[in-house]
Symmetry: none
Subunit: 231 residues, 4 copies
Amino acid sequence: MSMLFDEKKGEEGSSELPEMAQRILSVAMELFARKGYSATSVREIVQAAKVTNPMLYYYFESKEGLFYRLLNLLFDEMDRRVLAVAELNKEEPFDVQLREIVKLHMEVVQESPVALRFIYAVLFGPKESHPKFNPEVRRKLSTGVVLEIFQDAMNRGEFVPREDTNLEFLVMQFFGMLNQYLLLLFMHDTHQIEPPLNLFGEGCCEAGRDMVEHLLSFYLGGAGRICRPDI
Amino acid sequence: MSMLFDEKKGEEGSSELPEMAQRILSVAMELFARKGYSATSVREIVQAAKVTNPMLYYYFESKEGLFYRLLNLLFDEMDRRVLAVAELNKEEPFDVQLREIVKLHMEVVQESPVALRFIYAVLFGPKESHPKFNPEVRRKLSTGVVLEIFQDAMNRGEFVPREDTNLEFLVMQFFGMLNQYLLLLFMHDTHQIEPPLNLFGEGCCEAGRDMVEHLLSFYLGGAGRICRPDI
Amino acid sequence: MSMLFDEKKGEEGSSELPEMAQRILSVAMELFARKGYSATSVREIVQAAKVTNPMLYYYFESKEGLFYRLLNLLFDEMDRRVLAVAELNKEEPFDVQLREIVKLHMEVVQESPVALRFIYAVLFGPKESHPKFNPEVRRKLSTGVVLEIFQDAMNRGEFVPREDTNLEFLVMQFFGMLNQYLLLLFMHDTHQIEPPLNLFGEGCCEAGRDMVEHLLSFYLGGAGRICRPDI
Amino acid sequence: MSMLFDEKKGEEGSSELPEMAQRILSVAMELFARKGYSATSVREIVQAAKVTNPMLYYYFESKEGLFYRLLNLLFDEMDRRVLAVAELNKEEPFDVQLREIVKLHMEVVQESPVALRFIYAVLFGPKESHPKFNPEVRRKLSTGVVLEIFQDAMNRGEFVPREDTNLEFLVMQFFGMLNQYLLLLFMHDTHQIEPPLNLFGEGCCEAGRDMVEHLLSFYLGGAGRICRPDI
DNA sequence: CATGAATGAGGGTTCATTCAT
DNA sequence: CATGAATGAACCCTCATTCAT
């Protein structure tokens, strides 16, 4: 599942799930991401996946079961990759570590925007529009990993947070920055319109600096400077 | 409707909507916010609102009609208040203007968390889980107003953005900061759990600085400073 | 409902149930009696009753609700009639009272064999082939009334039970006699065959004595006399 | 199969049925008895029997086939035992013969209440709740045997039936007495409640007379004597 | 013998909506 | 304005059965 349902069943037959079940998962992810859990009917799923109705129940027990299976697969995969990135850059400087976390999200959204859209739908959509799910539990890992990066950097003296600001707040806003960017990106994507703000195109960032740098530099340095004569 | 459905029909009889229709709107907002449009059935609405089924159709034509009416009411109200705040503080310094925008959102979420939850559900939930709606159109106003605040401040020389950063990006991240905070707030709210990160309690910000200040100072000044010997 | 669903809506509009609901009840009784609860599908019921599917749910909430409604109607009616017969013949001699109870059952089975078949299906069929129902509760009334008849007759000295035999046992066997007769009758009925034993035809009882007399005289006097020289 | 599915495969390896098929039969009997044919699903059976789905079809061809196989096994066994009892007591007096028939039923219900419950479900339940089955055919044997007992006794002058009463009627009521007792017994069994009438406990029959005697003496002698001054 | 995987048809129930009054 | 009654279509799910291996 290293490819977040990229439809490519890896050359080694990868995930040991029968091809039919794979197709169901893939289609379900797409539909849940686009229409949400409630607005997606089992019939739609099986028709799009070209399987018969009972097969869904054979493999996943229920619509709800399918939902949970999918959710766990995706969160597991995300956790796996976040951990891997963190581990790999353990010895790197603070800003590199953050950059790699941001880059990971950029990669994921390019690899499988649908997967991330699904995750966001569950995290940020109405809480009772899908089977019960406590995001805290799953998010704790990602946020925990990033929190540790902050703490280590601070302990090493490599990072000095703004005064009066605890690290949890900074982690929250780190993801806030990331999420906002991705959510806007999804909006433009699904509405098939020109981005009305020049945020995503070529002209967005000055030559040589890609969006990852841009986000990070904003995050670390803030929006800008206030110049008031009276202060 | 100045109170975002606070159940108080203002003393002026305000919106001339019959009490029955008001009840329907109020209940629908609550349910749409909690369960989403698709997962909310017309029967649930009318039962909770204690009206008969055809009444909903009399006043709102259809479930979809009800949705749009609600959406417009809320967005209009938000627009109204954002504009009012902007107008009121036109002569104030840049940071005060921003602070008032943030404060407005804080007020709204206290006044009627449900209303904001509904708006966020539509903005950030799956796009086809509810009747077609292009958020760009509506958001343009809010973001437009804030963009203008930035531009004016820059023109006045009161605000100097980070180099290589366009204003649209800053506005996007301004709302990202706000949204992330509110979304997390909703999570804790709906899951009825202790905030695992100490983000919302008393201890979050140092004495004398409330969350509004906190958010703004982070936004303007960034997360902190990198100290690398090799640089 | 005095006619146990004889399809005749009494001339006074009787039971205040809409005609559609009446038809559903009537058809359901017929099908439940013939095929049992589990083997009868909601689709069958509504098609036979010529109503649309949701109407069943409108009036009865669920298949189970329909079952209970039907059951209660029929048991109530039976209770009503048993009580009425008992009351009416309170001053009559013991054997007359018993005879009237038997006659009541004969009348009911002629009026609406289906109704009785349904009741018997619930009482004597597999216990989990239909929604939970504790027959003891409902049967207590009928058996209670008859038990009282026995007790009064005994107290008046009008009836002397066999030695060593308690009255509960006699009541049980009273209904046993009745039930066996009716169950066999249903068998012949449903299998559309000649009764292989000449139990129900003209020749069964001697001239002038109908089945009611026959049953009662057997019940009171027993099968016959043993004549063994060695005793 | 001499033990009516007592789970003990007789010491002679008896019925040559593979153990798997035995388990299926045993479980099916239990479920059919408790829930009826229609309410019992093939999946329930195979899961409870811990066999795979196609095995049921391999051994019994279909759910219907399983039903018939079971039915025939049980009826054959009952027939066998009724015939055996009749044969064994051919030379005994009339009342002894009847007593042995009653005792046989008591034994069976103690050995395997489930088996008898299944048989009764088929005999007395709704006729179309299970595959077509004409009880007359099978019952003819049992009733025939008992009828013969009556006839012989009458011919020998050992039994004098009540006047005006044919033997078929007496046989019917003989089984009625038995069935009513057993059906009530099942009720108390399945509803796990105290028998509200003291019919089954110690106090039911006077010292030294067990239920078999009690039933028979009632059957032969009737309920009691009417004493009316006016007659 | 025995299995995992697959199926067409139908199970009970609810949907958003509308009719006549 | 307001209602009880009615509807076609769709909901999620399970049925008995069979295929290939």
